[in-house]
Amino acid sequence: MSIQPTPGPPPYQEPDDARRPETPEEPPGGSPQRETQSGPPSLRPARPRWRETLSLLAHNPTAAIASLVLLFIVIVAVFDDTFASEGANDISVDERLQSPSWAHPFGTDDLGRDILSRVILGASVSLKVGFFAVGFALVAGTLIGLLAGYYGKWVDDVLMRFMDMLFAFPAVLLAIAVLAVRGPGSGNTALAIGIVYTPIFARVTRASVLGVREEVYVRASRSVGASDWRLLTRHILPNAAPPIIVQTSISLAFAVLAEAALSFLGLGTQPPNPSWGLMLAEGRGYIELAWWLAFFPGMAIFLTVLCFNLLGDGLRDALDPRQRTLMAGGGK
């Protein structure tokens, strides 16, 4: 016995109810129109999920503006060589501590360097550290959280107790310890921040996985014979992702701050290379004499952190399935 609807007789027949072919229950005036289409239907979604998320995000003005500002900052950071004037690290004693002007829109610092150029170069350093740190934490934390949440029992105990240990350390102390072992520099700063943030991602992921793991659709997939790997990658991770994505954008904000803090303490980026935190630290001594030294790097940090946070909030809303349903019903 097997199911063989084709070829041969039409797939289903209703001996005594043929008068009323079982139509799919289309809502009479409901949203999805029936498409007529020849050939086998496509296995691909009519509208990819990420595009729906993007369009939802675009409907949220705050998040949209934040994304645009972030995009601008990232472009500036990527093409820092083009935007910054040459020799941003060159000392020029004649132009020390000049207030903002046409020649130097953000003024110059105590060594006569153009602050605008250094903020631009700093963007590159700060964001690089932020992205690498969060990238590390995201991959490591998600993996740990996924395994802990899915397998539970001793796997969960071992992994999460280890994460708790990391979490219990004061974050800065832990970063200092990592930097003390590996030496200062932006690469190691990124690693240190990444390690500090890993438990956060592990916890968020585990909590989300614990909820998704019990969903009926996961059991349904298991009932058709899907392997653990398949369940994890096709069902659990995608459905557990929204809080992780939101955590990512918020963590990026904090990573930028953390880099600033570590550089401020002299453990991060090393002079003469600029980073926002380092510039802030250096400008601190001149705050009464020349406010612009600390103000502009501070503003850059503020703006970036704010935008990441706003984007995080926007994503949280856009990834909420309830939002989707409303949009899908009303939007078309």
């Binding site: 797939p11 289903y12 239907p41 496509s42 979604p45 009519a46 659709y217 996961v218 349904a220 058709v224």
Partner: protein, 348 residues
């Protein structure tokens, strides 16, 4: 065992530890969701499994497919022991047994299209090679359950409950199963949609020669669709038999009460009816009464009910079995733990 039996459970138990644990480490109780079930599902039949909430009928359905690990007893599927299958054997067994779940809103992954959901079994078991063939098969399956193949690219939230349940059905049928387990598959649908799905299930069962295990609390629906009916109470099958016999001449007092409580849409009958109103509540499955588990609510309780755990025995129509001492005291005597005295079985 004859080869007419597709699935067979013997002394099947699913016990969950409850309470306890934690920091104090005290021993918790045991929730006996399924507590010694003997059940045969015959090839090609529709077996209805009824019972009230908490009686363990869903757990039993899940345990038969090893979606919940049994803690005791055996399950055989087409002659092979399910409880000792390795990974590969389990996978093949799950291809041969499809399942439809209660909540059509929870049983479909919201992030996967209908096509992705329905083609999952095809991918998992390598049943169709190539995207094109799989897409073609998905189209066939959707048509089989009465959906337009053009909906394949849509997401679950675009569908109504009845349509989603059809998608779930298409997924369950994708592996060309021998057995289809419907776990409260119509419970969360509107009345008129329930009827659509019931008709569809019956048609598919005949057309594909499926063996159907229809788990439901709705006696009318079970009576409508089933060839045989099994009644569960507190983790045990207490009566089983041909649908007509169990439905019109039940032999176990619990089944009688259950049947008499089902309201029918005929006012005259409803006014004339004499319900057997059971007193009290179903005991907790973590504190199952000794002897007959129904004795705390049974209107006919008499002396052996305390001491002997009744076994299924022939009663009423041919093929009808009931676990009740009214048809003769048969079963396992209760062991009186303090004295170590074992009550003698009164007859056999």
């Amino acid at each position: 065992m004859t080869d007419d039996v597709l699935v067979s459970a013997r002394g099947l138990e699913v016990h969950f530890p409850v309470g306890g644990g934690g920091l104090r480490g005290r021993a918790g109780g045991l929730l006996r969701a399924v507590d010694g079930v003997d059940l045969d599902i015959l090839r090609g039949e529709t077996l209805g499994l009824v019972g009230e909430s908490g009686c363990g009928k869903s757990t039993l359905g899940n345990a038969l497919l090893r979606l919940v690990p049994p803690t005791g007893g055996t399950v055989t599927f087409d002659g092979t022991d399910v409880t000792s299958l390795d990974r590969r054997g389990l996978k093949e067994m799950r291809r041969r047994a499809g399942m439809v779940f209660q909540d059509p809103f929870a049983s479909l992954d919201p992030r996967r299209t209908v096509a992705q959901t329905v083609s999952e079994p095809l991918e998992v078991h390598g049943l169709r090679s190539g995207k094109r063939e799989r897409a073609g098969r998905v189209g066939e399956l959707l048509e089989l359950v009465g959906l337009d193949p053009a909906v394949a690219g849509r997401y679950p939230h675009e569908f109504s409950g009845g349509q989603r349940q059809r998608v779930g059905l298409a997924r369950a049928l994708a592996g060309e199963p021998d057995l289809l387990v419907c776990d409260e598959a119509i419970a969360s649908l509107d009345v008129s949609v329930q009827a659509q799905v019931l008709n569809l299930l019956r048609r598919l069962q005949r057309q594909l020669g499926l063996t159907l295990l229809f788990i439901s609390h709705d006696l009318s629906a079970v009576r409508h669709i089933s060839d045989r009916i099994a009644v569960m109470y507190l983790g045990r099958v207490v009566e089983i038999g041909p649908a007509a016999a169990v439905g019109s001449d039940p032999q176990m007092p619990y089944t009688q009460a259950l049947l008499s409580a089902v309201p029918v849409p005929h006012p005259a009958q409803e006014r004339a009816r004499r319900r057997i109103v059971l007193t009290g509540d179903v005991p907790s499955p973590s504190a199952v009464p000794s002897g007959c588990r129904f004795r705390t609510r049974c209107p006919y309780v008499f002396e052996p009910c305390d001491d002997v755990d009744p076994a299924l025995q022939p009663a009423g129509a041919p093929g009808q079995l009931a676990a009740c001492h009214l048809h003769g005291v048969v079963g396992t005597p209760v062991t009186k733990t303090p004295e170590g005295v074992t009550a003698e079985p009164s007859s056999r």
